[in-house]
């Protein structure tokens, strides 16, 4: 084992790559839960983003249209969740779980119907990497960040933008108010349902962007269930990050680093002992359990999180 394997530029680059989709899901979770709606269908939104992005890229050969389609697919799934949980006031966990199953079944079925056993085409339009050539000469930094995918950079910008949005704007204030005490917000004229719909749709779009990153930015293909629970890890990162965009990013980076380590330490030895890489690979999940169990500092969910809101009866 060498230091290079633990803190090398390639590990740093891998951390960013692996953290981006988790961060996008975590941002989605943060936005929707801050408005008071739990959306565990982020995993599903991510998956349909993956798949329909690929389909659109295959049909149109235009990556921007493909991205737009991916976001719309994620929002469509989220819209079902919004309708169930806001308008129908259904149990949000049940609705989210059902939509995850729907997303997995639907994408698996359509994948088989459309691409059969041959797999998705090899010449898919891809989301380009951003080559910051002026950084190339700088040691470490060049290798670490000069050739990241555009969506990685987009997700960093989104973190900052949404942090400002939630905590420094009028709409952000109302957004948080709705997630804490919707009745109080309504008595001063804030439209609770509208904000909650917007929040759930935004969460679907953010998760789907994470999905499109996986299929169109990284592997350039679709395989069944390829999101592999990143939507759920994103929710853990949201809790770990205490329901703030910056916190969500920090948590995602920790998870991403854990993933990056388990790859870079593959086959590494300490003395004569082989490192148990599989065990290291569980590190992000152990962190997740600790985060969810509240061991990582006291974090408090928005007070009205997951609670359906009923407008006072206009009898």
């Amino acid at each position: 084992m060498t230091w290079e394997m633990v803190v090398g530029a390639s590990v740093f680059a891998a951390m960013l790559r692996l953290a981006a989709p988790i961060a996008l899901a975590a941002l989605g979770g943060t936005m929707t839960e801050r408005s008071g709606v739990t959306n565990i269908a982020l995993e599903g939104s991510m998956l349909v983003g993956c798949f329909f992005g690929v389909v659109a890229a295959d049909r149109t050969h235009n990556v921007w249209i493909a991205l737009a389609v991916a976001l719309l697919a994620g929002m469509a799934l989220a819209a079902l969740h919004a309708y169930a949980s806001i308008t129908l006031r259904a149990d949000q966990i049940v609705s989210g779980m059902a939509l995850n199953i729907l997303a997995l079944g639907l994408t698996t079925y359509l994948d088989y119907q459309m691409y059969g056993t041959t797999g998705t085409p090899a010449d898919l339009a891809a989301v380009p990497d951003l080559h910051l050539t002026f950084l190339n000469g700088i040691p470490y930094v060049g290798e670490a960040i000069a050739d990241q995918n555009s969506i990685v950079w987009a997700s960093l910008l989104l973190v900052v933008a949404l942090q400002v949005f939630l905590f420094r704007t009028v709409l952000g204030l109302r957004w948080r108010a709705v997630g804490e005490h919707p009745r109080a917000a309504e008595t001063v004229g804030v439209d609770v349902r509208r904000i909650r719909y917007a929040a759930v749709l935004a969460s679907g779009a953010l998760a789907a962007l994470g999905g499109a990153y996986l299929s169109l930015g990284v592997v350039h293909s679709f395989t069944d269930g390829m999101t592999g629970g990143r939507g759920f890890i994103g929710l853990a990162a949201m809790i770990f990050g205490r329901w703030t965009p910056l916190g969500a990013l920090a948590a995602s980076l920790i998870f991403g680093y854990g993933n990056a380590l388990s790859t870079s330490l593959q086959g590494a030895t300490v003395g004569d002992t082989k490192l148990p890489v599989q065990l290291l690979g569980t590190l992000p999940y152990i962190l997740t359990i600790l985060a969810v169990a509240g061991f990582v500092g006291r974090s408090r969910a928005p007070a009205a999180d997951g609670v359906p809101y009923e407008t006072e009866g206009h009898a």
Binding site: V170, G172, R174, R176, A177, E180, H181, V188, H314
Partner: protein, 508 residues
């Protein structure tokens, strides 16, 4: 001089919910710049009438005129636009936001970006104008209830209201905070505002209002000048009959202590030291009142006695046995009954019937169950008997408890707790939210238990209640009993000071 039309003139208001006529041709006339009391028992229609005025309900008949001009109020937004503001009983505040953010929410009057500094400055201006003091940059969750109420008032003033409706504003305040509220209310009137003050406490009516409208059973029961009436007249109008006085307390021969607590310490849910060494004794045939503002450890004390909370030190002797570390079932088997603070959350299973609630805790003993199978006939018979004995209305043991009024829910709790002939009864805020009739009933029952020889630990933040029932009064402040006095010696002002933590001032 021309007489200006009244700021509010509601005439013949009718509001029907299903079969229930909540308001039956009710009139309310409020003059500009007066403090007008709207008084009546729970269910008399006060809140419904105010919800009509605030645009939450549309009346089925009747007219509303504001300053002589007839209006239709379709939503709270309409009402706010016409200068009507409501200070809700359950504060409509968002705890993690700052005072200033709460005040401006929904009407921020800025571009898309927010500036904390500008908000705070604007709220400070408003505070100066109306002589209301509260730090605009503090988070609402960090300030006491009395200050939170000021935030509610600021919210309404910020929106330019001329007519402020206070919905039972003193329910959560300490006596000192109540006095401060009265000062603010008078200042609002001096600044040209009009106030409607909803309450069922007679003392407040006389302390602060100019005129009084009394409602009873959804009808007008009287309109009075505050200076030309008296408490018993208003009470008669509210209840429709003369009030019973609690029977004079005659000493009950004691058969020794029912409860002895020594050096009791415990932590709150948040891990803070909630009880810092409590010593107290409740004798059989005695009511010990624990006075104090809510949140000073009273609930933790009750929970420790019942075994719902694990004490960190000290002993709790019930009938000579230490129950400090017993679970609730074993404690109750020693003859301890409990009427919890929040009957809806802790006292009852709201989705269950009256009969089922009556047997909670005894569901595994005959005659209610045999070999693990419930005997529904026995449960129903017991329910019918207790519903009658404890005057639960409607007298139907099959009714779902969640649909009963607060007073009747409390009768179900009492019925369950008192039938076992307990040796010690721990009651926490037994009449919170109840109307006069139900309050009378609960008080009578507790006095009967005392006369039977049971010890009663009465926790209440209502001084009137403590003074009406207790033989001795202990005042709780920040986890300690700061004084214990015979009820006869306890002056209200002294108790108020003790409750606010001024132990030296009170003894001086």
């Amino acid at each position: 001089m021309t007489v200006s039309p009244p700021i509010v003139e509601m005439r013949g208001i009718v509001k029907v919910f299903g079969d229930l006529v909540a308001l039956d041709r009710v009139d309310l006339v409020v003059q500009e710049r007066e403090i007008h009391a709207l008084i009546g028992e729970n269910g008399a229609g006060k809140s419904t009438l105010m919800n009509v005025l605030y645009g939450l309900y549309r009346p089925d008949a009747g007219t509303i005129a504001l300053r002589g001009q007839e209006v239709r109020l379709r939503s709270p937004r309409d009402a706010i636009a016409r200068g009507i503001g409501m200070i809700h009983q359950h504060f409509m505040l968002i705890p993690p936001l700052t005072v200033a953010e709460n005040v401006v929410l929904g009407d921020e009057r800025s571009g898309p970006m927010l500036s904390e500094g500008a908000l705070a400055a604007r709220v400070r201006d408003l505070e100066e104008r109306f002589h209301i003091t509260v730090d605009p940059t503090a988070k609402v969750e960090d300030i006491p209830l009395g200050l939170q109420q000021r935030v509610e008032i600021l919210k309404v003033l910020y929106r330019g209201s001329d007519l402020l409706i206070f919905d039972e504003p003193t329910a959560v305040l300490t006596p000192q905070e109540v006095d401060e509220l009265f000062v603010i209310v008078r200042k609002l009137r001096d600044e040209g505002k009009t106030v409607i003050f909803i309450t069922h406490k007679l003392r407040e009516v006389f302390a602060v209002t100019d005129r009084i409208t009394v409602l009873r059973d959804g009808r007008n029961a009287g309109e009075l000048e505050t200076t030309s009436t008296n408490a018993s007249e208003i009470a008669r109008l509210m209840v429709g009959r003369d009030l019973k006085r609690p029977a004079a307390r005659t000493p009950v021969p004691s058969s020794g202590p029912a409860l002895e607590i020594r050096g009791l310490q415990a932590k709150s849910d948040r891990g803070a030291q909630a009880l810092k060494g409590i010593d107290l004794t409740v004798n059989a045939g005695e009511i010990l009142g624990i006075a104090g503002v809510g949140g000073n450890g009273q609930s933790e004390l009750a929970e420790c006695i019942l075994g719902l909370r694990e004490p960190t030190a000290g002993t709790i002797l019930v009938g000579g046995a230490d129950v400090a570390h017993d679970d609730p079932k074993r404690t109750r088997e020693r003859g301890v009954a409990y009427v919890p603070e929040d009957r809806r959350a802790e006292g009852l299973v709201l989705a269950f019937s009256v009969a089922d609630n009556f047997i909670l805790g005894r569901q595994d003993t005959p005659p209610f169950s045999k070999r693990g199978v419930l005997d529904t006939d026995a449960i129903r018979a017991n329910g019918d008997r207790l519903a009658k004995e404890f005057d639960v209305r409607p007298p139907n043991a099959g009714a779902i408890v969640g649909n009963l009024s607060g007073g009747n829910q409390q009768k179900v709790v009492l019925g369950r707790e008192l039938t076992a002939q307990p040796k010690l009864i721990v009651v926490n805020q037994p009449t919170r939210g109840l109307d006069i009739g139900s309050t009378e009933y609960v008080w009578e029952r507790l006095l009967e238990e005392r006369a039977r020889g049971s010890g009663v630990l009465l926790i209440s933040s209502e001084l009137d209640e403590i003074r009406a029932l207790a033989d001795r009064i202990a005042v709780m402040f920040e986890g300690r009993l700061v004084a214990t006095l015979p009820a006869a010696d306890a002056a209200e002002e002294q108790l108020g000071l003790l409750m606010a933590g001024h132990a030296e001032a009170a003894s001086a």
